[in-house]
Amino acid sequence: MLELILLSVAKVMGIVMVFVMAVAALLTWIERKQSALIQNRVGPNRASVAGLRLGGIFHLAADAVKMLTKEDFDPETDNPLMFRLAPFLAVVPVMLLFAVIPFGPGEHFLISNVGVGALFILAVSSLGVYGSTIGAWASNNNFAMLGSIRTTAQMISYEVSMGLNLVGIFMIYESVNLQDIVIEQGSLIWGWLPAWGIVLQPLAFILFMTASIAETKRAPFDLPEGESEIVGYFVEFSSMRFGLLALSEFIGIVAVGATAAVLFLGGWQIPWVQGTGGWLTVAQVGAMILKTLFVVWLQMAIRWTLPRFRYDQLMRLGWQYLLPLSLLNIFITGVVLMFVEQGRI
């Protein structure tokens, strides 16, 4: 038991506190630098250490110090406890998502091999809505309340199709356990095509990415915080509390990247390479990290390419396009699998 506890502490520190936090912190800089490049601006470039600027990468440290040394004041609220709880409720669920993500073969690169892996992700990711809802409710602010009602409606709308999109994946790989799904994706169809989720479920991949971006409240689905319209659900949060709410968004991007990599891009599998062990394991962990970073980059590029939706467009996309398409995807998958199992394909 003690061994299990120590091992889990080491894995949590390694995966979440080092890898995820490092990527999330780096994303705060990449996001601003990439948007600057897309919009033909210079972007952050002021912070320097000993005269070195390196494209403004020291803004990471500067931001952290600034967040920590600002005043954290409570607004006049009748729910101070809930107000203080909100950053925890926003950040802890997105961090917990990494508990079931297999970063490599075997049990050493996986914090917990929970049998219901994918369902754990769906369940825990939906807890994230409490952070913004309770935080805004406790802020006692009209703008925050508007933002939080929009957030709640948006997140629960897209959660339905997010769950239904994954049904096709469960049907093909016959499991909800993420490690099993990744192992199944190592096989080849017709001897040459990797059996990745994106190959077998291309429609589900597009729908899943759309729903996930809506779940992480990023542009083009950033109505909850739409800077130029309503200020957002975190108006009343200052200093590190605001920093944590922003951080939860960046960790959410990494979580979506890792989940999409595991379910649709073959996880740690390197195409046409079978087996594990030794240096191959190292390469496979590297492949998983690369795939995660690719999906993260994809989300960044989408954010700075598409304009924000109007609210009615957002709800129409969720209920009238994504949901029927998800049902259609399940139907098509069921029919095709019927033919496959009868040996006709």
Partner: protein
């Protein structure tokens, strides 16, 4: 303790570590940040105006409808998960294949009918 329950111990440990890390960051901020409070600073942000009504009032019934639809469709999705993992296994049994196929597509059909109904009633339109 069952093996399947032991798998949740790392999750609990992770919960504790993450909460501690966040608590640590907030405590550090509390220790480092200035504390100069006054009534105007603590007033709710309203672009310099006084708040004329409390934010806690009734909101549009459409949001309530979205909540109800979410519960209905999400529960239906939950019924699909166990079927999805067993579907291929059932298909391999020739006697059972058409039952596995038919029963769930009956269910999916009813689910789609419900969607068509709320759609036709205009409940999915925002204006």
């Amino acid at each position: 303790m069952l093996d399947s329950q032991i798998e949740y111990i790392p999750v609990l440990i992770m919960l504790a570590i993450c909460s501690a890390a966040i608590g640590g960051m907030l405590t550090l901020n509390f220790l480092l940040g200035p504390k100069r409070k006054n009534a105007i600073k603590n007033a709710p942000f309203e672009s310099g105006e006084k708040q004329i009504h409390s934010p806690k009032r009734r909101f549009s019934v459409k949001f309530y409808l979205v909540g109800i639809f979410f519960i209905v469709f999400d529960i239906e999705a939950v019924f699909l998960f166990p079927w999805a993992t067993l579907y291929r296994q059932w298909l391999r049994d020739p006697a059972f294949a058409w039952v596995a196929f038919g029963e769930m597509f009956l269910f999916l059909g009813i689910l789609s009918l419900g969607l068509v109904y709320v759609w036709r009633r205009g409940a999915l339109e925002w204006d």
